[in-house]
């Protein structure tokens, strides 16, 4: 059965991920590209990127941890065969036929996923939040009032009035997560999802956004992080700026790249501070 790709604001349950990707609304990931430059967004639209092993692992982790019952429909473990031999090649070809569109992960990754899932399940709050989730991977679209742009998001889970996002990482410590937060603009995601889910009526106005970070290696540490309202405001400022830029490009049809004038490129703040401390120019 094919579910039509909706082009209207609303909440859409049971939509496969592939279908969600086809929705016309702008996603946070697309805003990341617009933020780099509208040309990058346009290029990505025209040349979809290959699915990497890391992306597959992330997809498998989401299925395994959030929807363990239906995970076998989405994920399959690759057999251990020597694909240099004829028998191995045949066996793997047979496996690929059987696997279909499911995400294929290695036996080693499957072992890690089992442990990660157990770690999240036995974490006092993370386990409860996921077990009590009232929505899993629900898709929603809303219209940004300021620009009239149709936006979309797909929260991993909604538990009570908490929007949950699962992040697999090699280091879930607060310091490392803070750096990842900035690098991958998770604060923008949090603000975008919160505002979108509120607009779509999925959560109340006082909803919170939580990241459940789970490590991919032993001891499979699990940590839950929330953002301060100040950081959410920073994320909101950034996504509003990106949406404005996107709307401008749609209107003009000009998807510009980096600036053509010469720009100063500064050393990062921390590097300047460190060097200046040595030179005494603080």
């Amino acid at each position: 059965m094919t579910i039509e790709t909706p082009a209207i604001p609303g909440v859409f349950r049971g939509l496969p991920f592939e279908q969600y990707l086809q929705m016309p609304g702008v996603s946070k990931h697309e805003l990341d590209l617009v933020s780099k430059s509208p040309a990058h967004y346009q290029a990505a639209k025209e040349n979809p990127t290959e699915v990497t092993a890391a992306m597959q692992f992330g997809t498998a982790a989401h299925a395994w941890i959030l929807e363990p019952k239906s995970a076998p429909d989405q994920v399959v473990v690759a057999p251990k065969v020597d694909r240099r031999t004829k028998a191995g090649k045949e066996a793997y070809a047979q496996f690929e036929m059987m696997a279909g569109n499911r995400v294929v992960i290695s036996d080693e990754d499957a072992r890690h996923l089992s442990k990660m899932s157990a770690a999240v399940g036995s974490h006092k709050l993370a386990g409860r939040l996921i077990n009590d989730a009232r929505e899993i991977e629900v898709s929603c679209q809303w219209k940004d009032e300021r620009t009239g742009t149709l936006c979309r998001c797909r929260p991993d889970a909604i538990s009570g009035n908490f929007i949950i996002d699962l992040k697999t990482t090699y280091d879930a410590s607060r310091h490392a997560f803070a750096s990842t937060l900035y690098k991958y603009r998770y604060h923008v995601q949090a603000a975008y999802y919160l505002d979108g889910c509120r607009e779509a009526g999925l959560v109340d106005q006082d909803a919170q956004f939580l990241f459940i970070a789970v490590e991919r290696k032993p001891p499979y540490g699990v940590a839950i992080y929330a953002l301060t309202s100040e950081d959410l405001d920073r994320g909101r400022f950034q996504y509003e700026r990106d949406l404005g830029r996107y709307a401008h490009c749609v209107k003009t049809g000009h998807w510009f790249g980096y600036t053509e004038s010469i720009d100063y490129c500064h050393l990062p703040f921390y590097a300047r501070k460190e060097i200046d401390a040595l030179t005494g120019n603080e």
Partner: protein
């Protein structure tokens, strides 16, 4: 009677406070703090207590001094206002716990009392103070006795609060902000979960996985010949 005679002149009192502040055997809040020692000396004079006794029983809770509740009870018992010491009656358990502090007024033989219960503690938001979870009986005794003293012989406290009162008020003030924060509520729910529960069923003999443990799906491909 005070060990150190009252000093009438402020300058002499200040000199005494300065000397006292140089002592290393007085509580830390007074060491090197002649102004604090000055206040303690003044209180000692007015209460007829020794400066050391006052210094050992005054606690500063977020900038406000208060007596310890047990010292306040001791002072009331010693004051002669009551015939015999302040006594307590405890009824109910858990959320229904109630404590009455009572005493007999020496002059009138009248029984005076003050009751504090968990309902009052919750309504006043004192229960945000974690001590109401770990030792509710003691906390209610302190509050009931303090309020009995405050209503029956306020002169004993010189208008000061007890440190426990100040702590409760501090928690109560912090409570609305804390309870409005859903993250704080979620974190508080862990503490609630960790509280020991009464066991009404025998322990299972086998080790069972945690209740929240997610069942792992069987993802191995068994039907492929390798």
């Amino acid at each position: 009677m005070s060990d150190i005679q009252p000093l009438d002149r402020g300058k002499e009192l200040w000199n005494f406070a300065s000397a006292l502040s140089r002592s290393t055997i007085i509580p830390k809040a007074f060491q090197g703090q002649p102004a604090n020692c000055f206040v303690a000396l003044d209180m000692a004079n007015r209460l007829g207590a020794s400066p050391m006794e006052i210094m050992q029983n005054v606690y500063v809770v977020h900038g406000t001094p208060g007596f310890s509740a047990k010292y306040a009870i001791g002072m009331a018992n010693k004051s002669g206002v009551f015939k015999g010491p302040i006594c307590f009656e405890e009824t109910g358990k858990g959320d229904n716990l109630s404590v009455t502090a009572y005493a007999i007024v020496r002059e009138t033989e009248q029984r005076v009392e003050f009751t504090c219960d968990m309902a009052m503690a919750r309504a006043e938001k004192w229960t945000s103070n974690p001590k109401y979870k770990t030792m509710p009986g003691l906390m209610l005794r302190y509050r009931a006795a303090t309020l009995l003293i405050r209503t029956s012989c306020p002169e004993v406290l010189l208008g000061m609060h007890t440190a426990d009162e100040l702590e409760d008020v501090r928690y109560a003030k912090a409570a609305p902000a804390m309870m409005d924060d859903p993250i704080a509520k979620l974190n508080a729910s862990i503490e609630e979960d960790e509280e020991p529960k009464e066991k009404d069923q025998p322990e299972p003999e086998e080790d069972l996985p945690p209740a929240t443990q997610t069942e792992l799906p069987e993802l191995q491909v068994d039907d492929i010949p390798f």
